[in-house]
Amino acid sequence: MGSRLRGNDGGRMDIRFDAKTVVLSGAGHGFGRAIAESFAGLGARVFGCDLSARELAETAKAGVSTQVIDLTDRAASADWIKRVEDAVGGAVDVLVNNAGGVAGQEPHPIEEVGDADWDRILAINVGAAFVLSRAAAPAMKRAGHGRIVNISSGAGLQASLTGIQAYCAAKHAVIGLTRQLAHELGPFGITVNSVAPGFVRTNEATEKQWASYGAAGQEALVRGIAMKRLGTAQDIANAVIFFASDLAGFVNGQILQVDGGK
C-alpha cells in the first residue's frame, strides 16, 4: 500500500506524513480512496468525507476517520473542518479537495441544460473546494504552513470528454481558484496546487463514459496516450503526495497534468 517513491532496486525516496493531519473530500471511492489509503499508509492521520456511508466504510478500513457530508451544505462542511481541528488540536496540514464529478448527469445541448443541473455541478466541484479551503485556511495561516491540493481535470484545461458544459466550467474554475489561492496564501507559507488527471476509470460515471467510446474509440484513446495505458487512481494519488510533501516546498500555483502524456 501507499505511495513510496522509488526507482526499483536502487533509487528510493521515502516520504512520510507521521503526525500530519490530512483532510480529504470525496474519500469514498476512486481517486479519493487511493489518496486516503496512500496518506494513511505513509503515517498521516486522515479524515475523509463523502456522500455515501457504504463507500466510506470501505475507505475506513485503511484507518481513515470518515464522515458523511453533503458538501453543498456549507455550514456542515465548515463544521466538519472545525471538528477535525478540535480533534487533532491544531491546523489541518494537508487539505485535498477531491470531491466533484458530473453528479450522474448526461451531456445535453446548452439550450437544454437546466439551472439545477448546472448549479449542482458547480457546487460539488468548485463550491466544495471553496468552502473547505475557506474553513481550513485560518488555522493554516496561524500555523504558518499548509498544503492545499485541488483535484481538477484535463477538463480544466480544455474541452471535456464528458461533453458536460458545467463540468468543464467548474474544473476550469478549480484551476482559477488554485492560482488565486496560491497568490493569496503563499505569503503565509501555504502552497496551493492542482493535479489534473486524464481519463481514469474509477466509478460508474467513468465506466459509462468508457463504454460509450466503443472498442475503436477506446483503442484510439489509449493510442493517443504516450504511455499507452490509462491512468490509475494510484497514479493520481502519487502526484497528490508529491504536492503535499516537503519535496514540493517551492512549488506553488501549479497545475500538474497526470495524463500519461498527450
Partner: protein, 249 residues
C-alpha cells in the same frame, strides 16, 4: 558500487542547480555521472557525493562527445536509469547586440545539448526496458525573462525549445521512457550571487513571488528526485515550474 544501484547522468552537475540535483539523487541511492567543463568544481562535487561517482569533462554542445560520454557511463555502471539535462549557459545580449555565432552557441549549449544526450541515452534506456529523462528549461521559456541581467531572448528561445522537444519526445519515447521538463524561477546559485541580481531578485521575491523568497537548488532537486523515483508514474511530457508562484512581471 552496489550491483543494483540505479544510475543517473547529470550534465552541468559541477555547481548550482546541477550540483544540488546530483547530491539529492545520490542521497536517493543513485550512482552519479557528472558531466561538466568546470573540472575543479566537478571534482569537489564528486568528492561530496562519494566514491560511486564519475566525473567526465565534456562540452555538452558536442554531439560526438555525448556518444562517447554515454558509452563510458554505461561501460562503468552497466545501465543508465536517469538523465538530467541540466547544463546551460545564460546569454545576456539583446537582439541588436548578439552575433550570429553567439546565438548559435546559446542554442547549442542550452538546446542541442539536450538532443545530444537524449539521442545518446535513449537506445540504452530502450534496450534496458525503461528510463527517465528530465531537462532543465526555465521560467524564461514562459515569461521571456524577468532577470534581464542574466538572460534574454536567445536563452529564452533555447529554453522554450526544450519544452517542445519534451512534449514531442514523450510521445516518441513512451511508454518506455518518461521525459519531463523543469522550469526553475529565481534560484539562488553561485551565478546569482552577483550583487545586481541579488538586489533585483530580492525585490522580485518580495513583490512578485507568492512564497516571498527565492528558491534554492535543493527546491529544484526535490522535484528531480520525485521525477526519477515516483512509482508508478503516469507523468510524461509535462513542464514543472518551481518558482514559488511568480507573477509575470
Amino acid at each position: 558500487m552496489m550491483a543494483d544501484a540505479r544510475v543517473a547522468i547529470v550534465t552541468g552537475g559541477a555547481r548550482g542547480i546541477g550540483r544540488g540535483c546530483a547530491l539529492a539523487l545520490a542521497r536517493a541511492g543513485y550512482a552519479i555521472a557528472l558531466i561538466d567543463v568546470l573540472a575543479p568544481e566537478m571534482e569537489r562535487t564528486a568528492a561530496e557525493i562519494g566514491p560511486a561517482t564519475m566525473c567526465i569533462h565534456a562540452d555538452v554542445a558536442d554531439f560526438t562527445r555525448a556518444q562517447q560520454v554515454v558509452a563510458e557511463v554505461r561501460d562503468r555502471f552497466g545501465r543508465i536509469d536517469f538523465l538530467l539535462n541540466n547544463a546551460g549557459r545564460p546569454m545576456p545580449k539583446g537582439l541588436l547586440e548578439i552575433t550570429e555565432a553567439e546565438f548559435d552557441e546559446t542554442i547549442a549549449v542550452n538546446l542541442k545539448s539536450c538532443f545530444n544526450y537524449i539521442r545518446a541515452v535513449a537506445p540504452v534506456m530502450l534496450a534496458q526496458g525503461g528510463g527517465r529523462i528530465a531537462s532543465m528549461s526555465s521560467l524564461n521559456a514562459h515569461s521571456g525573462g524577468v532577470t534581464a541581467a542574466l538572460s534574454r531572448f536567445a536563452y529564452a528561445s533555447a529554453k522554450a525549445g526544450i519544452l517542445g522537444m519534451t512534449r514531442a519526445l514523450a510521445k516518441e519515447l513512451g511508454p518506455t521512457i518518461l521525459i519531463n521538463a523543469i522550469c526553475p524561477g529565481l534560484i539562488q546559485t553561485e551565478l546569482a550571487k552577483n550583487p545586481v541580481i541579488v538586489e533585483r531578485g530580492t525585490q522580485i521575491a518580495r513583490d512578485g513571488i507568492a512564497l516571498h523568497r527565492m528558491g534554492s537548488p535543493d527546491d529544484v532537486a526535490q522535484l528531480v528526485v520525485f521525477l526519477a523515483t515516483c512509482e508508478p508514474c503516469f507523468i510524461t511530457g509535462q513542464d514543472f515550474k518551481v518558482d514559488g508562484f511568480q507573477y509575470n512581471m
